[in-house]
Amino acid sequence: MISEKKNIILNVRDLSIGYSNKKSTNKIARKINLSLSKGELIGLVGANGIGKSTLLRTLSGMQTALGGSVFLYDKPIESYSSFQLARQLSIVLTEPPATKNLSVQEMISLGRQPYTNWIGKLSAEDKKAIEFALQTTETTKISEKKCFELSDGQMQRVAIARALAQDTPVMLLDEPTTHLDIYHRAYVLKLLKNLTQTTQKTILFSTHEIDLAIQLTDKMIVMTEDQTYFGTPCELITKGRFDTLFPSETIQFDSETGRFTIKK
């Protein structure tokens, strides 16, 4: 029990997320409790607009929480400077990079920014990390290509490689499988799974591939209108948490197969 507690990297207590301005607050979700440990792959699922991206943005420190707390290594996430945080936590967003006139190599090298000197010179260690990122994501062959020449699947691998080069214990990915065909979806998820096992990173990703996530992840976060559930896929299935994900008159979760079926 003690060893497990030691391994907890990201601890979330009674978190409320949403947007606020001077006049009003718009709470999207409340009472979120999670604890993510070293080497875990965690899937975040929920309907469109339920607040998956907002949760990821809050966990990454890009957005302030409306209530509750996020602890990264027992320290509140607000206490990290943006520079310190960049060495602990990397992100892959749904938005494409602002420019695609960078070669794959250059794009991935940018991930080393938290480590390079004021002008961005790459050290031997930086080059090693970039090489590792290229090999792990199998992008070595396309490393000289420009990003605008890549397919969606290749681009996603490059985006993951850039986050990988940042060499952080925690990686957050917002819908890394969108726009990809079934092969690339499985490829990306398997890549993430392998990474958690070989590098002991904690990887949290949001996805709509609920059936794939159930098969691959160690833990899952299920966001519904009323509550956010956290647990292993098996626990969540037995407790019937997936049944409340979507309106049941259209689709229904089949706990035998771990899939959703359309109601006819």
Binding site: S82, L102, E106, S109, W118, I119, L122
Partner: protein, 343 residues
């Protein structure tokens, strides 16, 4: 990252062209001076003709240096703005700096009639105009910086800059409407831009502005590279967006504001040079782009100034017209030929 060594040949060629353009620019004018004489003056052996020596050292050399600073500085501030706003249409004047300078100059030239006497005389002198233009762009800069601290969104800063520009332009229109023909002509001549008539004192002040702006730009090159991925990614890699935005805008203002104060609003160079350079140096890495843009901008400005003097040796065409006249067709030709705008 592709380093500068990958582009060594590009840089050697560019530098050689710059040197040729520099010597050519010095040799052409109302008096033609042979190139070997120019080299003789620079190597210290002195020219055989005292008049040539005087023309070179006190007229053409400051002009050529001003041209290089103006071209290089405007091109760099264009590059900074294009990356900061991640918009290929941005240039050094998107934040309304040139409009601010125009407003200052318009107040001085068009309003000088109200003062008369010694004050009026000083206001209309070259230094009066330089100070007015500098103050004008500085005030716009302060307004823009005040906005940067309040507004989160960089795109909002862009729009607000455009609004400032439009505001000051309309004030200038009102001033022009009420001023007499002679003053109006003087103002319009200023707005054509002029590289000549610079004293060494002026050139040294301009050089200080330029070096300061250049230093700030170079120190931001790592931040600029991370901005290429977009603000959110840049933040996740440890970039402090507000501080970086502030430094980049400050660098642009010092560069573009200082240059506009001395040579007037020169259009086109700042917008086009970064695009031209990206066509030849196929990268977005600022460590490569920045020196390339600097050399290319200086070179282009020298060439434009040389061409402005070619047809009528006695006097020069307005430089502001020449930069666009030469540059616009080149950019159009390049884009049509390559069919791709790299950004």
């Amino acid at each position: 990252m592709q380093t500068t060594t990958t582009f060594r040949l590009h840089f050697i060629v560019l530098f050689a062209v710059l040197v040729v353009a520099f010597l050519l620019n010095l040799s052409i004018g109302s008096v033609s001076i042979p190139i070997n004489e120019i080299i003789a003056v620079f190597t210290g052996s002195g020219s055989s003709n005292d008049n040539w020596q005087y023309i070179l050292v006190d007229y053409r050399l400051p002009k050529a240096i001003t041209a290089m600073i103006a071209g290089g500085g405007l091109a760099i501030s264009g590059l900074l703005m294009q990356t900061l706003f991640r918009n290929p249409l941005a240039g050094p004047f998107v934040l309304g700096l040139s409009s601010g300078a125009s407003l200052g100059v318009a107040f001085v030239i068009l309003g000088a009639g109200a003062f008369g006497g010694a004050i009026g005389g000083f206001l209309l002198s070259q230094w009066g105009v330089v100070i007015a233009a500098g103050l004008g762009s500085f005030l716009v800069l302060l307004a823009v910086l005040a906005v940067t601290f309040r507004v989160k969104d960089t795109m909002a800063i862009l729009i607000i800059g455009l609004m400032f520009g439009s505001l000051t332009t309309s004030v200038v229109s009102v001033l022009s409407y009420f001023s007499n023909a002679e003053r109006l002509q003087q103002y319009i001549f200023w707005s054509f831009g002029s590289l000549g008539n610079q004293t060494w004192q002026g050139v040294s002040i301009l050089s200080i502005c330029f070096l300061l702006g250049l230093l700030l730009s170079i120190s931001s090159s790592k931040s600029l590279n991370s901005l290429l991925l977009g603000e959110n990614y840049a933040k996740s890699m440890g970039l402090q967006i507000k501080k970086t935005t502030f430094i980049i805008i400050l660098a642009t203002s010092i560069l573009a504001g200082g240059i506009t104060a001395f040579v007037g609003p020169i259009a086109f160079v700042g917008l086009a040079v970064p695009h031209l350079v990206r066509q030849f140096f196929k990268t977005s890495n600022h460590l490569v782009l920045m020196p390339a843009v600097l050399l290319f901008g200086s070179m282009l400005m020298l060439v434009c100034d040389t061409i402005a003097r070619l047809p009528f040796n006695a006097f020069a065409l307005p430089i502001n017209a020449i930069t666009s006249l030469i540059g616009a067709p080149i950019v159009i030709w390049l884009l049509v030929r390559k069919r791709k705008l790299f950004f």
